[in-house]
């Protein structure tokens, strides 16, 4: 790995440690799990540690696999992902949830997509993910399915469509197992009120506009649109399902994480259409903002104060929020 990327990863590790200190509440609430040990406080801490290690390894792989011309952009994307990924499962409401396990497995699978090796272990991982975290069907499994379908369209290798279908079927099997065993719940947490969520949506409108413009530009230029349509729409189930369940923190988390990881993988794959559109959008943002870093810092405000919980609690009375 290049020296500047090594320094970046070291800085990310230090940031992760500081974020753990900032956001970790040292409290485990009840969350449904297939095994009692997954709800043990010490084991939950170990899982959180593994999650942090896996995410750093994935970031290192993403940087290594990115073309030289886009290294800086990948660092921005990684920093953007970390704004959501690092604090989310340390704070009170989401520490100890099975999402951590799903994401550990999911990130390993994303890493496999990036390095284009060890595909064979993907079905096993899909089954494990589905059994431990049935809700991963609409979150991480949807992303892996979309990425595998994209690989099929890109490489025309039928094994990827097989992997994609097996991934979804095994996730469904995991859901069925969890219902049969009686531990399935949506495990919804109500950390963010509807009013606050609507206000967050208002604050995040610029990102929605950028995302939609990017998608439309890609679709306009693409010959075979199916892979892109699949990638764009596979992120919606998590948003819709958790929106209906009123778990708005997860809506924000998965809404951003899904599309950021998808964009990162497309950059690594050097998808020419995506690269051209990405550069256009990047330059338009650069022309408007004094620093690109603000794109990353802005949603972190919401994560710090609302999604990951305030450090003090008083009456919430700003326009009734």
């Amino acid at each position: 790995m290049r020296a500047d990327n090594k320094k970046f990863i070291v800085a990310m590790i230090m940031l992760a440690i500081v974020e753990l200190l900032r956001f970790f509440d040292r409290t485990l609430l009840f969350h449904s799990a297939p095994m009692g040990i997954l709800q043990n406080y010490t084991f939950a801490k170990i899982l959180l540690g593994i999650y942090m290690i896996v995410i750093m390894l994935l970031f290192a792989i993403m940087l290594t696999k990115t073309d030289m011309a886009y290294q800086k952009d990948m660092r921005y994307l990684i920093a953007f992902i970390s704004v959501f990924a690092l604090p989310m499962f340390a704070n009170l409401n989401y520490f100890g949830t099975m999402d951590v396990v799903a994401l550990i497995i999911g990130m390993i699978m994303i890493g496999i997509v990036c390095i284009e090796k060890y595909w064979i272990i993907m079905p096993v991982m899909s089954l494990a993910m589905g059994i431990i975290c049935p809700m991963s069907l609409v979150t991480v499994a949807a992303l892996i399915f979309a990425l595998l379908f994209y690989e099929y369209i890109r490489t025309k290798k039928k094994q990827f469509i097989a992997y994609a279908i097996v991934n979804i079927l095994l996730s469904l099997l995991g859901l069925a197992v969890s219902r049969k065993m009686g531990y399935f719940t949506t495990d919804s947490m109500y950390a963010l009120s509807l009013k606050k969520f609507l206000f967050v949506c208002l604050l995040m409108i610029p990102y929605a506009i950028i995302a939609i413009k990017m998608m439309m530009a890609i679709l306009n230029r693409a010959g075979k649109k199916s892979a892109y349509i699949c990638l764009f729409t596979a992120g919606l189930p998590a948003i819709l399902v958790y929106g209906l369940l009123a778990d708005y923190s997860r809506v924000i988390f998965y809404g951003f994480i899904y599309y950021l990881f998808a964009l990162a993988v497309l950059l690594i794959k050097q998808d020419q259409i995506v690269l051209v559109v990405y550069e256009e959008i990047r330059e338009r943002i650069r022309a408007r903002l004094p620093f690109m870093g603000l794109v990353i810092a802005y949603p972190f405000i919401v994560m710090c104060f609302w999604v990951s919980g305030p450090l003090e609690l008083f009456a919430e009375t700003f326009v009734g929020l």
């Binding site: 500047d4 990327n5 320094k7 970046f8 070291v10 800085a11 990310m12 940031l15 500081v18 974020e19 200190l21 900032r22 040292r26 660092r75 921005y76 920093a79 970390s82 704004v83 206000f199 604050l203 022309a287 408007r288 903002l289 004094p290 620093f291 690109m292 870093g293 603000l294 990353i296 810092a297 802005y298 972190f300 405000i301 919401v302 710090c304 104060f305 609302w306 305030p310 450090l311 003090e312 008083f314 009456a315 919430e316 009375t317 700003f318 929020l321």
Partner: protein
């Protein structure tokens, strides 16, 4: 390449949206008892400390056709005043950008963004919402604008006096900004200018010091006679009538609280240790910046001038050593360096401009530099006795293990 006017417009718009998001996320719709109880103090009881704000409020109560001595009105007043303060803060940003040469824009914008983010978060959050520090910082910003414009410099005297009248702690917390900028103008000016700035400096320093001594040592003489009236007002302007009794004991009755504060000092020491360690990236960059300045300076006059710029925050030392509101001291330390550096850039101090640009370019090229945008957000808002919620959390955890302080 964008023209300067468009670039400033984009910067201001980004800044306002960013600060609006912070304000929404940190506002909690309550004026704490300490901050509302200040309104009960007034000059109708004599020329006493911290009474300017209360006097203005009582005057408005007398003039306006609404009963201001009610908590709900206090809250509305606090929102209006805070909004006005942010307008002043943004005007300072706009004013500095207009004066700055375009090649030095980026580092200046970075400092201004940082200042705005920290300030808006701190003065919107519950601990410091409508705190008198807001008025002191407003006075400091106005002083900076006067010094940058370099017109009617004599106004530094009444402006600084107003700062002391808001809170005598102004002499340690925000007065350094006015004094250091006067020193910089003194060293940069010709003989006639040196006399002008020297006289303004001497008069301002002497009169404000005199005011401080009056407020601190002599102004609290008739506390027992007025306490009931003050209490009645304090109950009226505070949420559910819960006023801050410690404040009134100290300010009206002259009770010395130092003996009771040793355990808080121990907590401060622990929190400051954590804060310094976690702020090392920023401290490192600041030290590097000043090292470059002293290495590049040749003349003795410039060495002395920049020494005052670097060391000006040391006026905070008595507060750090004797008082316990470390959140406020950290806020004012950050404000000092940000406002002074921005002012010097706006004043066209080429040496500072060039050094700032060099530092900016050096760290911007690092692969991890973009994380510097994210990092400060974890520390805001600053509180009062606790530096911030993050340090409070860390010190509570460590104290649970070592038992350093007893609460």
């Amino acid at each position: 390449m964008m023209d300067k006017k468009t670039e400033i417009r984009n910067i201001m718009l980004s800044n306002i949206i960013f600060c609006f998001a912070i304000a929404v996320c940190t506002y909690q719709g309550v004026v704490r008892s300490y901050n509302s109880t200040m309104l009960a103090l007034s000059y109708r009881y004599g020329f006493t400390s911290r009474s300017l704000l209360g006097s203005i409020y009582h005057l408005l109560n007398d003039i306006l056709p609404i009963n201001m001595m009610d908590y709900s009105v206090v809250l509305v007043f606090a929102v209006i005043v805070t909004a006005c303060f942010y307008a002043l803060l943004f005007y300072f940003m706009y004013f500095a950008l207009k004066r700055c040469q375009e090649e030095y824009f980026k580092p200046l914008v970075f400092i201004l963004f940082l200042l705005n983010v920290v300030t808006v978060a701190t003065f919107t959050s519950s601990y410091n919402f409508f705190r008198v520090d807001l008025f002191m910082m407003a006075v400091a910003i106005i002083s900076a604008i006067v010094m940058i414009k370099d017109k009617a410099v004599w106004m530094m005297l009444p402006i600084s006096c107003i700062g002391v009248m808001f809170h005598q702690g102004f002499v340690f917390m925000y007065f350094n900004i006015a004094l250091v900028l006067l020193i910089c103008r003194f060293f940069d000016g010709d003989k006639k200018a040196k006399i002008k700035y020297g006289v303004v400096f001497a008069l301002t320093f002497a009169i404000c010091s005199g005011l401080f001594l009056w407020f601190e040592l002599f102004s609290r003489t008739n506390g027992a006679a007025i306490i009931n009236d003050v209490l009645a007002d304090a109950r009226a302007v505070s949420l559910d009538g819960h006023y801050h009794s410690t404040l009134l004991q100290h300010e009206v009755l002259g009770v010395d609280l130092a003996e009771d504060e040793w355990e808080w000092h121990k907590m401060n020491i622990m929190q400051m240790g954590f804060f310094v360690v976690l702020s090392l990236p920023w401290i490192w960059i600041a030290i590097d910046f000043f090292k470059g300045i002293f290495k590049g300076v040749n003349s003795r006059a410039d060495k002395i001038k920049y020494f005052f710029v670097a060391a000006g925050a040391l006026t905070m030392l008595p507060d750090y050593l004797l008082k316990i509101d470390y959140g406020r001291w950290v806020m004012s330390t950050i404000a000092y360096y940000a406002i002074v550096i921005v002012s010097l850039v706006a004043m066209g101090d080429l040496f500072i401009c060039k050094r700032l640009l060099e530092t900016y370019e050096k760290y911007k090229s690092k692969s991890w530099s973009l994380l510097l945008f994210v990092y400060p957000i974890m520390f805001i808002p600053f509180n009062d006795v606790d530096i911030d919620g993050f340090m409070q959390q860390l010190s509570a955890w460590l104290n649970g293990i070592v038992g350093f302080f007893s609460f």
